[in-house]
């Protein structure tokens, strides 16, 4: 089936679903969170290690629909190695994109910064699925908050 450009299911999404990145349990981590999306029964357990204001590593496990799993994979690629500030800024932009109801109003630079995550733009037209796309991003945000809020980790 040729993927229609209006489809929610861009090739990038399918590729990440089939071959997710950063999937697995981190042995060495500062925080772990478990998030659930009741709409699809999606689940993700996510661990982060934060060092010198950077997301040094992130690993996740979970199951659910392709949107939730692919989005978590894309998010991981984007934030691992970036500063906590940048990661949280990106999270805000992605949230904004998901709340756009199909009308991306991000600037060109912001759109570019989202890289592969922009493939989820079509999801924003389906309110029922927005939570799927946000699952991993929300988990990352709260994991980072608890890792950094935990204060001076060795």
């Amino acid at each position: 089936m040729s993927v229609n450009i209006d489809s929610m299911y861009q090739q990038i999404i399918l590729d990440h679903y089939k071959h997710p990145n950063h999937r697995g349990e981190l042995a060495d981590f500062d925080a772990e969170v478990h998030h659930v999306n009741p709409t699809c029964g999606d689940e993700v357990t996510l661990r982060v290690r934060v060092a010198d204001g950077e997301i040094a590593d992130l690993g996740w496990t979970g199951e659910g629909c392709s949107i939730s799993q692919a989005s978590t994979s894309v998010m991981s690629d984007l934030v691992v190695g970036s500063s906590v500030t940048d990661a949280l800024q990106l999270q805000e932009k992605f949230l904004q994109l998901m709340q756009s109801q199909g009308h991306n109003d991000l600037t060109e630079d912001e759109t570019e910064a989202l890289e592969d995550a922009i493939a989820f733009e079509g999801v924003s037209k389906y309110p029922a699925r927005v939570k799927c796309a946000l699952l991993g991003w929300m988990a990352m945000k709260s994991a980072v908050a608890s890792a950094t809020g935990a204060g001076d980790k060795p």
Binding site: D6, S7, Y9, Y17, C40, G41, S66, R129
Partner: protein, 416 residues
């Protein structure tokens, strides 16, 4: 002669397109589409007859009352009720089932209603395949009264475990409530078996006929239960109207459900006496137009013949089960043969979440439902988060089933 192509022309929505392709509507178990005659009857009611019922003496008032009460007659005829005043209009099946559960707990403090009392030591039994609408009201009744809530489990094929019926339904059972046809599995339950058991132990039997009324002739006398509930919007009628049928001698002794206008006999500040059934259970201005619309839907179905509807759908079910069986990695959740099952087929596809399946089918114009279908215990039973469900109606064709199968295969190709 039943001709599906002729029937389709009666449903204007079936000619619309979604995402640039013709709509294939396979979600009738969720809600059915409405024929033009039903839409016209709503317009006609509001255009020419609108007034409140049972209170206005003017011409419009009596026309509205006649239309509304006429709809009650049509429902009574449709389900072969012995008396028209056994037909109570509710807003849907959920309200109909709640009506029974709440009047039973209201009976706790009503003189003359002792035989309906439910309390500690008693139990209320449902099945594992119920819609939440036929679970939650009973769980709440159990909570209010201290009775025990129980269920009859289902097996791997989506049938009730017959050997456990007599154990779960015992001489302390006050209510046995069960679905006629499961909305999640398609299973058609053996009503006679269950009602006979309920009678043997002196329990009230309540049938949730939401998914059978639209698909097969329904005769409350031959079903033999005490209460039968169904909902108008699945029966080609409007939303906002449902039906509770109850045996008159029970309704006559049951206390009210909601209080308000129309349900009283006399009111003074020291107390109130209540109207006879069905009005005792219909507080306030009812869903007049919707009831009239439901009456029209019933006329429409009666003209086609419910036995014809049943035969058409039996053929669709057999066709679809065969066709879906050819799809690799597809598992039907529910009976795999057309025996004692209705035209609602749930399935899972290995490696692809039902929400992805249904969304991708939607992109091809095919409307199915994905989720737990308000029967979450069924999903828990089979250890799955959700299913994809295709459900058929009088206007469904075998080529729509072909489209479904082709659509599912396309989805699999995308994910492979």
């Amino acid at each position: 002669m039943f001709d599906v192509e002729v029937i389709r022309k009666d449903f204007p929505i079936l000619s619309r397109q979604v995402h640039g392709v013709p709509l294939v509507y396979l979600d009738s178990a969720n809600t059915s589409q409405k024929p033009q005659v039903v839409l016209d009857s709503l317009t006609d009611y509001y255009t020419s007859h609108n007034a409140n019922v049972a209170r206005a003496v003017h011409t419009l008032g009596s026309e509205a009352t006649m239309l509304f009460e006429g709809a009650r007659d049509k429902v009574a005829g449709f389900i072969n009720a012995p008396r028209r005043d056994e037909v109570i209009f509710t807003k849907n099946s959920s309200e109909a089932l709640n009506l029974v559960a709440y009047t039973l707990s209201n009976a706790t403090s009503t003189p003359g209603a002792e035989r309906f009392r439910v309390g500690p030591g008693d139990n209320i039994v449902v099945t594992e395949m119920e819609h939440h609408s036929n679970i939650v009201p009973w769980q709440l009744l159990a909570q209010r009264t201290g009775a025990e809530f129980r269920y009859i489990p289902i097996d791997d094929e989506g049938r009730l475990v017959d050997s456990l019926i007599d154990e779960r339904v015992d001489d302390r059972t006050k209510v046995l409530a069960f679905v006629h046809q499961s909305n999640a599995l398609g299973t058609v339950n053996n009503v006679e078996r269950l009602v006979t058991r309920a009678k043997a132990v002196g329990a009230l039997s309540v049938i949730d006929a939401s998914q059978s009324a639209p698909h097969r002739p329904l005769d409350v006398q031959s079903l033999g239960a005490d209460f039968v509930a169904f909902t108008g919007h699945k029966l080609y009628g409007p939303t906002g109207v449902g039906v509770l049928w109850g045996r008159y001698e029970l309704l006559a002794d049951l206390p009210p459900f909601l209080g308000g206008g129309e349900m009283i006999e006399t009111v003074d500040m020291s107390g109130t006496t209540f109207a006879a059934p069905p009005h005792r259970f219909e507080a306030g201005t009812p869903m007049i137009a919707e009831a009239v619309g439901l009456g029209t839907a019933i006329d429409y179905l009666t003209a086609i013949g419910m036995d014809q509807v049943q035969a058409h759908e039996a053929q669709l079910t057999a066709y679809a089960l065969d066709a879906l069986a050819q799809v690799p990695a597809l598992r039907v959740i529910g009976p795999s043969t057309p025996v004692d099952r209705g035209a609602t087929i749930s399935f899972t596809i290995k490696g692809i979440h039902p929400h992805d399946v249904s969304q991708l089918l939607d992109e091809q114009g095919i409307a199915v439902r994905a989720g737990h279908h308000c029967a979450r215990p069924v999903c828990l039973r089979y250890g799955i988060p959700a299913t994809t469900r295709a459900s058929f109606g009088i206007y469904t064709t075998t080529s729509e089933i072909d489209a479904l199968v082709a659509g599912v295969i396309k989805v699999q190709e995308m994910f492979s």
